[in-house]
């Protein structure tokens, strides 16, 4: 059963990812991204990370992708990108080499070491057995004790990024804008 779920989800994830990279239209790319994220959420469930699976759907698929779509709509990016030309010489060749290098080396590393050899969850104690706490409870226990400063810092990070986004996307006063446009040209 697990194997079947894994294979199906892996196929969805990879197909979505290829969709993102190959789609000429930004809206199609965003929709492919949703597919990848959903597949990923199911894989998280497979790995017994229930809380993160939920967060993955809510935050990624629900918020981030919607934000992408909003921006696409706002900017009206309807011009299709021409994927057949590459302005930078050698970019594609080098990108392919780098891609193969990353993947190949990672696989070599995995196959020659013993980290991946064992079945999932058999190396040490099973997470779910620790005190029979739920996944959520375990995360909360750690998050609000060991990682509490980091947690508070992320709160500040989010606030700052919201303020930053507001400042950057604010429309300038008409005079300023005209002036800046003049400087640009």
């Amino acid at each position: 059963m697990e194997t079947a779920v894994f294979i199906v989800c892996a196929a969805i994830v990879l197909a979505g990812a290829l969709g993102v990279v190959l789609a000429r239209n930004a809206v199609h790319a965003a929709l492919s991204l949703v597919g990848t994220l959903f597949g990923m959420a199911v894989l998280f469930l497979n790995l017994e990370a229930h809380f993160l699976a939920a967060v993955q759907i809510i935050v990624y698929a629900g918020a981030i992708v919607v934000l992408f779509l909003f921006v696409i709509m706002l900017l009206g990016v309807d011009r299709l990108e021409d994927l057949s030309v590459e302005p930078i010489t050698g970019q594609r060749v080098l990108a392919a080499i780098v891609g193969l290098g990353t993947f190949g080396l990672a696989v070599v590393f995995l196959l020659t070491s013993d980290i991946g050899a064992r079945s999932v969850g058999t190396l040490t104690r099973d997470i779910t057995d620790i005190g029979q706490y739920s996944n959520l409870r375990q995360i909360a226990d750690v998050l609000f004790t060991d990682y509490v400063y980091a947690f508070e810092a992320t709160a500040a990070l989010l606030t700052i990024s919201v303020v930053g986004a507001v400042v950057m996307s604010r429309r300038m006063a008409r005079g300023d804008e005209a002036q800046e446009a003049a400087e640009d040209d």
């Binding site: 930078i88 970019q91 080098l94 780098v98 590393f109 070491s113």
Partner: protein
């Protein structure tokens, strides 16, 4: 076990909170609320210290050494330094008078700094100073003490040149800073040497290691001598004493707090804290400390005789009294050193604050030649000043007598010549303080009350002799300034009770400090009879000094000009000697260094610059501005790293 001692972290936390609040809100609070906040913080710190003291008293005698560690600070391999506080009798005694006197001086400053532009800034510095001083005293390792040591140095610099628009003040601050740097070098090297030798910077661990494994006498001597350099810098001992008289350029509460009561005693504290290492060093090392102290005490006392600036007299007096403490440390009388430090903190703070009150009343004039007859006009100031005078002169039963007598007794046990010279210093102390008091508060006024002469009359009156004298409007200071004076006067009178010499039961401070001294406290080698004789000699000496002062400055038996020799007035020309040396051979050496700097060092720097510029011109074409090229670069780097990891892992 949780006790009141665990509150020790609160002691420095209060002034730190004061600094932070005042930095954020100081200007908005304005005068006088900023001052009240700072004073309240010091008051809180004092209360915390009292609570810790009570907690410490509740422990058994030999358990009165409690380390409260807050967190790891520098976990670097073998060098592990924590932010931790050592609450033991020595540190808490220091903390008590630092916070107590500090709080009173904060209160006084509210009145003294009235109307100053930098009112809230002044209190930030004062609170920062108090925080640093408490870190110095309470730190449980040398590095934390060093942190406080540098902190008080920086605050001292900031406060000496507080009115920095006047160039003299700014350069006085620089002088203090540079002179202290020489001392700090000694401390730093001593600290590193101690770490090399004992493998730790924590006092407890150093002393434990010393007890278990011992140490070579030469190593211990080197550490102590270097510490002495540091202590001499901070505590203004010869030849590093030259900064302290100039430090009087700062506001008077600063002189009272930093340059009389607390910071300058840090050197004595450090040496007392390291007493096991002094005990482990060669015999000549304590003697060196002793003779440095004696030389400084005697020299500063003679200089004080000839000074005319009220604050300079007190400054040289401070240098001299610190010399007394060094003599005590050198002769193993640590209790006497700390005892004198405490009583000195009370009466010298009192004298400085009194001087500040006089200066305040005399429109900023500091020259005692233009004072006189102020007792009637400044009743509280003069009464309290007299109490401080009797205390420092060593008249029983005021506090100074008890502490100075104890130092004299130990000096007698150590070396008769030393005792005699120290006695002469004590007599000189009584003499110059009498001179100061008589010239300031008694005799006929050498100024004219401004009210008697309306401005219009000035021209007509310039003919008469009397009008050559300055116009002043002396007035008593506000209550924020007089209350600290009265409290300190009370303390200066009765503080001697804390350590009476009669029986070992009333030797309270001595019994209290025992756990911090590890049995290294010296013992008097002679009986009670000799002590009585010595005490009587000391009393006769101080009374003799007082009456000699009275004879010269009231009865005019001898012309004061014959005593106030220019050589003394110019502080034995130490400053000139330093200037001449630095201006002559020193300057030539600097010029040589400059030449080297310009040709070799600058040459290398310029060559580097040229090289970088040429390389940059070549390399700038690689900056395409295309973000995807940059991303490709990152990706290639990541792959290369991956390759490196895999090959290193042995595949």
């Amino acid at each position: 076990m949780s006790t009141l001692v665990d509150l020790v972290w609160l002691i420095p936390a209060f002034p730190l909170a004061g600094v932070l609040i005042l930095m954020a809100l100081g200007r908005r609070l304005g005068e006088p609320r900023a001052g009240w906040l700072a004073t309240a913080m010091m008051g809180g710190s004092f209360i915390a210290t009292v609570l810790v003291f009570i907690g410490l008293v509740g422990h058994e005698g030999d358990e009165r050494e409690i380390v409260v560690t807050l967190f790891e600070w520098v976990p670097a391999g073998k060098l592990a330094v924590d932010i931790g506080f050592l609450a033991d009798p020595l540190s808490i005694t220091m903390a008590l008078f630092v916070t107590g006197v500090g709080a009173l001086i904060h209160l006084y400053s509210i009145g003294y700094m009235h109307g100053d532009e930098g009112f809230s800034k002044f209190f930030i510095y004062l609170n920062l100073f108090a925080f640093s001083m408490l870190m110095l005293v309470l730190g449980d390792n040398l590095l934390l003490t060093f942190l406080g040591w540098e902190g008080v140095g920086a605050c001292s610099y900031l406060l000496i040149s507080f009115w920095f628009t006047d160039e003299a003040n700014a350069s006085a601050g620089k002088k203090a800073f540079v002179t202290n740097r020489v001392g700090d070098w000694g401390f730093l090297v001593a600290m590193l040497l101690a770490f090399l030798t004992f493998g730790s910077l924590q006092y407890g661990e150093i002393f434990f290691d010393l007890e278990q494994n011992g140490v070579a006498a030469s190593t211990a001597s080197a550490i102590v001598v270097l510490l002495l350099v540091g202590a001499a810098g901070k505590s203004a001992q010869f030849p590093l004493h030259i900064w302290l008289p100039d430090a009087m350029a700062g506001p008077t509460p600063v002189s009272a707090l930093i340059h009389a009561a607390t910071m300058v005693t840090a050197g004595v504290y450090l040496l007392t804290r390291m007493n096991p290492i002094i005990a482990a060093s060669h015999d000549w090392v304590p003697d060196l400390i002793m003779w440095v102290g004696l030389g400084t005490a005697l020299m500063a006392a003679t200089i004080a005789v000839a000074q005319n600036d009220i604050k300079k007299v007190l400054a040289y007096s401070t240098v001299s009294q610190l010399g007394f403490m060094f003599v005590a440390v050198g002769s193993g009388a640590y209790v006497a050193a700390i005892f004198h430090m405490v009583t000195h903190a009370f009466f010298k703070a009192l004298l400085f604050l009194g001087a500040g009150s006089v200066i305040h009343g005399m429109d900023g004039d500091q020259d005692i030649r233009r004072y006189g007859g102020l007792a009637r006009l400044l009743p509280i100031t003069s009464m309290t000043f007299v109490a401080g005078w009797l205390a420092i002169a060593g008249v029983p039963p005021f506090s100074g007598f008890w502490s100075k007598d104890e130092i004299l007794a130990y000096a007698y046990g150590e070396n008769k010549v030393l005792w005699l010279l120290l006695l002469i210093t004590a007599i000189l102390t009584a003499f110059y303080m009498t001179r100061l008091v008589l010239m300031t508060f008694f005799g006929s006024p050498r100024w004219v009350s401004g009210d008697d002469h309306a401005e219009g009359d000035e021209e007509a009156d310039t003919e008469t002799d009397e009008d050559a004298l300055p116009h002043r409007h002396p007035h008593e200071s506000p209550w924020t300034m007089t209350v600290p004076l009265v409290l300190l006067a009370g303390l200066a009178m009765v503080a001697g009770v804390s350590n009476l010499p009669f029986t070992s039961d009333v030797h309270f401070l001595g019994n209290w400090l025992k756990p911090s001294l590890f049995g290294n406290e010296g013992h008097l080698s002679f009986g009670g009879g000799t002590q009585w004789v010595l005490a009587i000699v000391a009393i006769i000496g101080s009374l003799g000094g007082v009456s000699a002062g009275a004879a010269v400055y009231i009865r005019r038996r001898i012309d004061p000009a014959r005593i106030e020799h220019p050589f003394l007035a110019r502080a034995w020309r130490v400053d000139e000697a330093v200037t001449n040396f630095m201006g002559g051979p020193g300057r030539r050496a600097f010029e040589r260094t400059t030449q080297f700097d310009e040709q070799v060092v600058d040459g290398a720097v310029n060559a580097t610059g040229t090289l970088v510029r040429r390389a940059g011109t070549k390399l700038r074409s690689s900056q395409t501005g295309l973000v995807r090229s940059y991303a490709l670069g990152i990706a290639i780097g990541a792959v290369a790293l991956l390759v490196w990891f895999i090959t290193r892992a042995g595949f």
